[in-house]
């Protein structure tokens, strides 16, 4: 087998001699592998991030609209509610014997682009995410009174807030939303990282939300009316409406009965959504985009593999002399075939490895930014099954494709004899 190891060394030297053209095709294949892996990573990790966002909640109740829309704003803080539900309805659900707990949610305000959530303090005990994990405080405590806020870790880190800092909330979510400047909040706690939209949320009590809107109407302060923060306690701060209610049942078996009960609620049109079902709808919607992205990157990978084959094929004519020399020192035509196959397979393998490393580097570089602005947490881990599948596919196709130049080299070295007529 000495001839074989000698041949391997020669294959490497020969490829190194043509490193510029081979390097360029290697780069093309490598980049398309990176593209494929990154899209696949984004796809899978977006799904996990979404699925992690809510756990242990049996129903989400809101005004009658599309279930997907309800899920998006109640859980992911995306979009907005077209309609609120009355406090009486929320209270009625809470009183229902099948219900273990409810969490009324009031959404709509924001702080420097981060959503503000009004909800009772029991949220920090009851709410579950991921695999039924409870929320944990990294610093401070839950809010107890008016004008106190608990920050998600992303909010605190991005804006550099600590317990004790003062912040003001803005009405609505836009860039130029008017501020509730007269009633500043004190940060009393920061939550530990969850990898869910909780990280990007500013939490306050329902009463605080009510208090800052006392002297507001229709999205603007009422002219001439200014209720100072201390005086607000004199008012009844029970909310009049909430955006949605998360419902936990005593027994999961009752989920459909409870859903029907909510749908049939007389006083106003309500809707109850199973989070899992709404998530499925979300997947269906996303699947179209995912598929087209994947198709495009598979095409890109295909094109660069064709380029690889073309480069090797185009170089073959100049290498006929080289192959004849190798034959004269004892390399048979099958060795020549093997040599070319090795080159193609080696290049694809190198491209796969480099592409993998590059995609990991990309996760490192873009991951934190993506987590802050979209809540999607990219995992810096060993490739998952689908990524392995893509890597395997690229390697297999690349190796198979390099059979074409290899086969041609085999034929040429048979047909040329010792003196190629080039």
């Amino acid at each position: 087998m000495r001839g074989l190891s000698a041949l391997l060394a020669l294959a490497f030297r020969s490829a190194w001699n043509r490193r510029l053209t081979l390097g360029l095709t290697l780069t093309a294949v490598c980049l398309s592998v990176t593209l494929l892996l990154s899209i696949e990573r984004l796809r899978v990790d977006a799904r996990t991030s979404f699925t992690q966002a809510v756990s242990g909640t049996d129903l989400i109740v809101g005004a009658r609209a599309s279930p997907l829309q309800l899920l998006l704003y109640a859980v992911f803080r995306v979009g907005g509610a077209t309609q609120e539900i009355g406090w009486e309805a929320a209270a009625a659900i809470d009183r229902h014997p099948a219900v273990a707990w409810t969490l009324p949610l009031a959404l709509g305000d924001s702080h420097r682009g981060f959503p503000v959530l009004g909800t009772p303090a029991r949220y920090f005990e009851v709410f579950r995410y991921g695999d039924r994990q409870p929320l944990v405080f990294a610093a401070g405590r839950p809010y107890a009174g008016l004008y106190e806020a608990v920050l998600g870790v992303e909010v605190a880190e991005r804006l550099g807030y600590q317990v004790g800092d003062r912040i003001t909330l803005a009405h609505g979510g836009g860039e130029f939303a008017p501020e509730h400047a007269d009633k500043p909040f004190t940060v009393v706690g920061v939550l530990a990282r969850t990898g869910t939209p909780v990280d990007r949320t500013v939490h306050v009590s329902l009463e605080s939300i009510e208090a800052i809107h006392l002297d507001w109407q229709g999205g603007a302060p009422i002219p001439g009316l200014n209720i100072p923060p201390e005086l607000a306690t004199k008012f009844d701060l029970t909310p009049k409406t909430v955006t949605a209610v998360l419902v936990g049942l005593k027994s999961r078996a009752q989920v459909f009965a409870m859903q029907r009960w909510v749908q049939d609620y007389r006083a106003e049109p309500l809707m109850a959504v199973l989070p899992g079902v709404a998530l499925d709808q979300l997947w269906d919607l996303l699947a179209i985009g995912e598929r087209s992205l994947l198709t495009i990157s598979a095409l890109v990978a295909g094109v660069s593999l064709v380029g690889l084959v073309a480069v090797i094929l185009a170089g073959l004519n100049e290498r006929r002399r080289e192959l004849a020399i190798l034959r004269s020192v004892g390399a048979g035509p099958r060795r020549v075939l093997f040599l070319l196959l090795l080159e193609g397979a080696g290049l694809t393998l190198a491209a796969c490895v480099l592409g993998l490393l590059l995609s990991l580097a990309l996760v490192l570089a873009v991951g934190p930014w993506l987590a802050a602005y979209s809540g999607i947490h990219l995992q810096l881990t060993w490739p998952h099954a689908a990524q392995w599948a893509w890597l395997g596919a690229v390697f297999a196709v690349g190796t198979l494709a390099s059979l074409i130049p290899a086969w041609r080299a085999y034929r040429l070295s048979l047909a040329d004899g010792l003196t190629p007529h080039v």
């Binding site: 000495r2 001839g3 000698a6 020669l10 030297r13 020969s14 190194w16 001699n17 002399r321 080289e322 004849a324 020399i325 034959r327 004269s328 020192v329 004892g330 390399a331 048979g332 035509p333 099958r334 060795r335 047909a415 004899g417 010792l418 003196t419």
Partner: protein, 235 residues
């Protein structure tokens, strides 16, 4: 036993009329033969058959008593590197290897050639250096990439590669045609001298009869070859 012996050889390139038909040709061990024939008469084809790169349709090609057609393809490849050194017309060297590495190629592919090179004293590299020095190649060239040498220098490196590890037979396919007259003469002198010193048989093919004087025997391929060479070979 002849070093090379052809009997009733017939060969045709695929989809062509017969190119070679040789009743008998032999080359004794250590003999130097000049085989003359015009361009296109099948000289290179004959060398490829003797080297076992191509296999004759009918008839026998025996080298060192071995019937090449009866060896397996990889057996022929091994036989070639073990016993035959080849020098082409030009472009003999792998451009990405150094001069020394080019000379050592046969030792990398053949244990026999390596052992014989070592038997001359020390490592195969020592044998390669001795050959290069004997062929008048300055030591500062030895580590250079082969592609940086002049054509004449390249041909001498190719000769060193053909000779290393003392193969029994040297095949030379118009190795001087890219050289000017003075260098042709010098190269031929080296070639025949070195083959004599190594005790190797030499089969030298060329269309240029003026080069024939140093050889022990001169043959005319057009007379040997019963297939009416040029006309018959042309596609």
């Amino acid at each position: 036993m002849s070093l090379v012996e052809l009997t009733d050889l017939r060969y045709a390139w695929p989809r062509q009329r017969p190119c070679l038909e040789i009743g008998h040709f032999a080359l004794a061990a250590g003999e130097t033969v000049f085989l003359h024939g015009p361009s296109g008469s099948g000289k290179s084809t004959l060398l490829a058959l003797i080297a076992g790169v191509n296999v004759a349709g009918t008839g026998q090609v025996r080298v060192l008593g071995e019937d090449l057609a009866r060896l397996s393809p990889s057996g022929r490849d091994r036989f070639r590197v073990d016993h035959i050194g080849i020098v082409f017309q030009q472009f003999n060297l792998l451009p990405y290897l150094s001069v020394l590495e080019n000379v050592l190629l046969p030792c990398r592919f053949s244990a026999l050639r390596r052992q014989r090179a070592q038997a001359e004293g020390g490592r195969p590299e020592a044998a390669a250096r001795r050959l290069l020095a004997g062929l008048d190649l300055a030591p500062e060239l030895w580590e250079r990439p082969a592609s940086r040498l002049s054509v004449g220098q390249q041909q001498r490196v190719a000769l060193a590669r053909a000779l290393i590890g003392r193969p029994a037979l040297i095949l030379a396919d118009e190795p001087t045609s890219a050289l000017d007259a003075a260098r042709q003469r010098a190269f031929l002198e080296l070639l025949t001298e070195e083959c004599k010193r190594a005790g190797a048989g030499l089969l030298f093919v060329s269309h240029d009869l003026r080069l024939a004087e140093r050889f022990g025997r001169v043959e005319d391929l057009t007379r040997l070859n019963r297939a009416q060479a040029e006309a018959a070979c042309a596609a």
